[in-house]
Symmetry: C2
Subunit: 354 residues, 2 copies
């Protein structure tokens, strides 16, 4: 495989020295880009876009053509695994993802199979292989999955939820049954991420979007532990290269110490945690990724630059910072505001790496 021309993202995740702070954005291939909307139109539906490796590759590369980003992330959905398990994923206008066959009974949980990534999820692996080839070493490719708890919320609720009524009833009434569901999902995620690594992903990230809706002890048992088991079974080196693992629990700022002990190389942070505090709390054991408030990008370029400067200053000098938003980019952001952010990260971070 081609050598990486720009490896500062990988180096920062491994807490090695870099010239400037690397930057990418969650949902960087997304609706804020007119070229994304055009490809999406061409594909038909969102799922047809995810399911077509050529088009998934096309949208993955689009933001790199516009902005000097330091990483690409596979364009896909977090719900591919439950869909491959037979739950029947579909999208409704305004309501987000839904499942035709939610999982609620003990019999359904026991009947759930672990999908073979090169069979039922072949379209994702093909996309990884194609993107990796098309990237030709420009920047590293990030593979990803939703966390078991996050996937389970959609699987049990049948879609998005405000209060997680059904899965929390299961959590309080039949915790061992939920453990079983999470175990099947965790084994599926581990296989899926290892297959992405074998297909060419150079970093993997676990998105725990809904772990922050739990109490500390429930988070530990039902979200963190399954993620820890996944991390323990991941290939951490492939073809002689380290494969860093990033863990991101939205609203998980209170639990950084516990997240640090999972064996992840880096933690993603939303904007409610100060990077200087976080750095002190994780004690140099992991790199940190984040954490500009995505709403900053609604402001004008000079104000974006000012806020980027504050985030860089809060991390300060030294290794182990990847710049990112604290959550996915909002669909209404003008692309030139992203240019202002990326440029500011590279320019303003230089003094912190001298």
């Amino acid at each position: 495989m081609t050598e990486l021309k720009n490896d500062r993202f990988i180096r920062a995740l491994l807490r090695q020295p870099v010239d400037v702070t690397p930057v990418w954005m969650m949902r960087q291939a997304g609706r804020y880009l007119p070229e994304y909307r055009a490809t999406r139109e061409k594909a038909g539906s969102f799922m047809q876009l995810c399911g077509n490796p050529e088009l998934a590759c096309e949208v993955t590369l689009q933001p790199l053509e516009r902005f000097p980003l330091d990483a690409a992330i596979l364009f896909s959905d977090i719900l591919t695994i439950p869909d491959a398990m037979g739950l029947g994923l579909y999208f409704t206008e305004g309501e987000g993802p839904r499942f035709k066959n939610p999982i609620r009974t003990e019999a359904q949980i026991k009947a759930l199979g672990v999908p073979d990534p090169e069979q039922e999820l072949r379209y994702v692996m093909d996309a990884v292989r194609l993107i990796r080839r098309e990237l030709a070493g420009r920047v590293p490719l990030i593979g990803f999955s939703g966390s078991p708890w996050t996937l389970a919320t959609y699987m049990v609720e049948g879609g998005s939820s405000k209060d997680f009524r059904t899965i929390k009833a299961m959590l309080f009434e039949r915790p061992e049954l939920l453990d079983q569901l999470l175990d099947t999902v965790a084994r599926s995620v581990a296989l899926y991420l290892n297959a992405q690594i074998a297909a060419g992903a150079q970093t993997v990230m676990i998105f725990d979007t809904w772990g922050g809706a739990l109490t500390p002890s429930d988070y530990c048992r039902f979200s963190l532990k399954p993620m820890e088991r996944i991390i323990a079974s991941l290939q951490r080196e492939y073809n002689g290269k380290k494969i860093p693992v990033i863990l991101f629990t939205k609203n998980g700022g209170q639990w950084l110490e516990a997240m640090t002990d999972t064996g992840a190389d880096a933690l993603g942070l939303d904007w409610t945690t100060d990077l200087a505090d976080a750095r002190r709390r994780v004690g140099g054991q992991v790199a940190l990724q984040g954490n500009l408030d995505p709403s900053v990008l609604y402001a004008s370029p000079p104000h974006i630059r000012e806020q980027v400067g504050k985030v860089l200053a809060s991390f300060g000098k030294g290794n182990g910072h990847v710049f990112n938003l604290g959550h996915g980019i909002h669909p209404g952001i003008p692309p030139e505001h992203v240019t202002a952010m990326v440029t500011a990260v590279h320019e303003l971070s230089m003094p912190y790496h001298q």
Copy 2:
């Protein structure tokens, strides 16, 4: 005025000994109660219910008839102040509160007046006086207001928001203008809460629903500081009785130390913070109120009792705990599940107070 027959809520807020842990629920007068839905029907709209002191009194007392709660809370809306400022509050089905005249320009901010609580908000003060009389000392009455930041988000966005696009653009581009808006709102809140105290409120609570959407430094400047100024100007004693102040920032678990320094008597906590940790962090300076995950009430009574036991155990022995949910009760909860919770709090907390 009548002496309180049950003062354990006030005593717990002041960290004095009690026989059992006092308990009340955010949104205890609400849609989960059939009798509330009947009164609401009778009133016409939600705002007509808030605006009618007799009906507001009726729904305030309803949960006390059913459950041995240790406090009553004024039935009202957090948006009465901006409505009194002339923004034109109305409610739409499914979309929540909206303002006819959102505040977005410098001229609008400069033109905002501070409402006189006994004039434009007279209906609220009348409700407080009536409820206090009808309570006849059974339990204390809690008055409340939204925090300046929380009120400002609705005032600027014109309603509920997911990403706070407009107010955050103001925050990043014209922070001093936002300071000015928050200052007017803070002065209005202080007057409003002092008027509630004069009308009979025996505790006041500030609801900072959206402070948790800010970065730590923005939280400090735009949410916490205005609340601190309000607390400094509140009547803390009335007719020879202490008036405790409770501060609640949803998703504020990372900032408890800063909240402790505001001078509040108690902090409200959502369920993402462990009470034992919180207690250690606030170092006996304030009481703590919370923090059962409201979704526990979807589970069956024996499981509710089990989870109540965990919350009580996490606080442990000693003074300064008021039991509550970590957020408002969900509308779909069966009332008998609330009975299970309240009974469990009183029964299971006895050993912690011996």
